[in-house]
Amino acid sequence: MQLRPILASLRHHKLTATLLALQVAFTCAIVCNVVFMVVNRIERITVPTGIAEQELSVIHSAGIEKDENAQAQHAADLAALRAIPGVRSVAAVSYALPLGQSESSYGTCPDKQAMDRAMQIMSTAGAGCSQPSVFDGTPGLAATLGLHVVEGRDFRSDDYVVGYKNRPAVAIISRTLAQHLYHGRQALGQSMYVGDKSIRVVGIMDDLLRPNLRKPGVDYDSMLWPQLPDDSGVTYVMRSAPQDRQRVLEAAAAALVKVNPNRIVNPERMRTYTQIRAKYFQRDTTMIGLLVASVLGLLFVTALGITGLANFWVQQRRRTIGIRRAIGATRNDILRYFQAENFLVASAGIVLGLLLASALNLVLMRLYELPRLPAYYLPAGALVLWLLGQLAVLGPARRAAAVPPVVATRSA
């Protein structure tokens, strides 16, 4: 394939070819970055919570009267919920659940000295301390959520205290928190400091995600406390087979009202975990949809532009093509000619586009705290645009190849 005649002909359409290359360049730059954003968001919305999400559903109940005996009420509710067919286990929590958005967290230090240091500099971060989220709940919470205690033990009935005002003496901490507090040393049996009280680590569990995502490093800093909810507003977590969840939720609402009608069971706070996750990441899902739509739109418009222009050029050059065919060029030669021409223009655009993509990424990193674009996105983006260009030019190129040699003999 001779490139020289192609270059010579492109020189006649300098401005048009430049514009087409520019379009490819901008498309390449935007598509690389937007696809990267989509991948980031997908990673975000698929973050594991560490619990058996597929089997869990959650219902919230709020008592109306103030002078209720919360403990008795919770016990009666739990018994009623456990009796629902299909429910394997139930636990009550005050409010904290992974991705549940309501959270309590406490500055927690590995030992007394670290706590004193943290108090002195008024910051947990500098003193080797963390801000884990704390999950309270009734006995059996770990099993209901599907959390595995990998070292040490689960809570015993004499570990439990009532209400958030009473600090428990023991806790189960996540693997990540153990690592953050004790850096590879044996965490089991250590005494953490939460405020001025010490809490002994009796168990290490698999990672449990916070109610609110902060940043990737600390999202799994969490611990369980043997602390019973003691408010008339309470959240029940039920475990059942995945397909039973909706039915279980409806039965649960009815069962709770039957136990005590003097309460509010808000239908909006009666959700399967799938719904909780969907709600938490709803904005990200919208954004993914929009980003994907704009990538497709961009590629579509660029493909249309390439096809349109190529079509135009083919029409313009019918006579020239006829002459070439008449003096011996095969159909394949004509086809290759237009394909090569497109390849050249696209390549010029892609080279510029890759530079623009990196520049755009730098701007986005500054303005929207996006991570750096991994290098392999650039060749992948280039490949996509080359393919797109070749696909877009195929139709016009084949039409060109179909021009019969006899055209040469007719006047333009």
Binding site: R283, G305, L309
Partner: protein
């Protein structure tokens, strides 16, 4: 001449229907995407109180101790006022009108037999709230300063809640049970909910919330009613009740009619801070006291999520690529007609005439593309409204955005036509005519 050019444009566009449709689709998609996002941004940054926002201001003080460190993620305690400060500003009466307020949720227990109790959001406020924001009343009126003083159990309801509880008769004079207390209904407001709910605490969802009830602030303090949003305490002694000097939870708005009055109020805030500092209560410089205008406060709060801005940039980038596309196509199209244009030049048409002719042809594409874009934008806004985001319901195009869409489309297409028209005007007629 205009009619003739229009006719020429029509003929030329019809000669290459594929290319014409292509250009229209490109500009339609670009305009549609951009206008969808511009409209969303427009409704989110719109003036919630047109005609009145210029006179509304919110004062902010900084009572934090010097060694207080702001948590990066946490809410800012200085976004709100403490009760003692709010009461001091209220009693000073330095503005035309002033009111302190805070949001809260209460349980309504309908009197009807069998009706389930439900939670509603509302506002605790001082008497001037209604005149300050020019709240329209359907029945009755707000309460008086004397009611504030007396901690009178009176309530103003939204029309929606009044209708739900009392039917169409309004309910003024009736009693309603909210939480654990009874209140006498003194007024029902007409449909009124500024978007965003600028006077509410900034941690809530201000695009979807509205107030169902209004109670005197003094009652909320007296009965320790629950308060929503950012209640930030500081100080070691942990005195964090509603009356504490160390807990901020109140929003405060004033009406200042002239710039001079606003400047005087600003000075008053600095003086007040200086006085509190000399009393040993404030530790930070008195000049930290700020007075935000309504729009200034909304800008400071930055309610528009980053995602929306990103989407707007993306849409504009998309429009830009579409425009480059159209420039290339128009250029090819115009250059193809070098012969025809050379004939017109040879017959006496000036470059200006050719320029006009081609400009009109581009504008025709723009108008058609703009109409298509309008349709696409409506489709885009419809899909935004289907989303559960709190601002989604507001995504509607008003007349100015409608006209703006068409204008943008025409400007974009004429701009896109400029370079090709200029290029083709430079073709030497003689050279072209020879090859004809």
């Amino acid at each position: 001449m205009f009619g003739y050019y229009l006719d020429l444009a029509w003929r030329s566009l019809r000669r290459t229907p594929m290319l014409t449709v292509l250009m229209m689709v490109a500009i339609g998609l670009g305009i549609g995407a951009s206008m969808t996002m511009l409209t969303v941004l427009h409704v989110m940054t719109d003036d919630p109180m047109p005609g009145r926002s210029a006179q509304l201001f919110t004062p902010h003080l900084d009572p934090l101790p010097l060694d207080y460190k702001l948590d990066g993620d946490g809410p800012d305690p200085t976004a709100n006022l403490t009760l003692p400060d709010a009461m001091a500003l209220l009693k000073a009466r330095r503005a035309t009108r002033q009111a302190a307020m805070a949001g809260g949720s209460l349980l309504v227990r309908p009197a009807q037999v069998g009706a389930q109790p439900f939670n509603i959001d509302g506002r605790y406020a001082t008497a001037d709230f209604f005149s300050l924001f020019d709240v329209p009343f359907e029945h009755g009126q707000g309460w008086s300063g004397a009611d504030d003083e007396a901690r009178a159990h009176v309530v103003v309801l939204s029309d929606a809640l009044a209708r739900k509880l009392f039917g169409s008769k309004g309910g003024v004079g009736e009693t309603v049970r909210l939480g654990d207390n009874d209140y006498r209904v003194v007024g029902v407001i007409a449909d009124w909910a500024p978007k965003p709910l600028f006077y509410a605490d900034s941690t809530g969802s201000q695009y979807s919330d509205d107030d169902q009830f209004f109670l005197p602030l003094s009652v909320a303090v007296d009965r320790d009613l629950p308060v929503n949003g950012n209640n930030s305490g500081w100080g070691r002694e942990n005195a964090t009740g509603k009356t504490s000097f160390n807990m901020s939870w109140l929003q405060f708005w004033v009406q200042l009619d002239t710039p001079a009055q606003a400047a005087a109020y600003r000075q008053f805030l600095v003086d007040y801070s200086a006085q509190q500092k000399s009393l040993g209560r404030f530790q930070r410089p008195p000049t930290d006291a700020k007075l935000y205008s309504l729009m200034g406060w909304l800008a400071h709060e930055n309610l528009v999520p980053n995602d929306i801005r990103l989407q707007l940039w993306l849409a504009l980038g998309f429009l830009f690529v579409c425009m480059v596309n159209i420039v290339a196509l128009l250029l090819a199209k115009f250059l193809r007609r070098s012969g025809e244009i050379s004939v017109r030049r040879a017959l006496g048409a000036r470059r200006r005439d050719i320029f006009q002719q081609l400009g009109i042809e581009s504008a025709v594409i723009g108008v058609a593309g703009g109409l298509l874009g309008l349709g696409i934008a409506q489709l885009g806004l419809w899909s935004v409204r289907q989303r559960p985001d709190d601002y989604a319901k507001l995504a509607q195009m008003d007349v100015s955005m409608l006209l703006g869409t068409l204008a943008l489309a025409i400007v974009a297409s004429v701009l896109a036509g400029l370079l090709p028209a200029w290029r083709v005007c430079r073709v030497a007629p003689a050279l072209q005519l020879k090859t004809l």
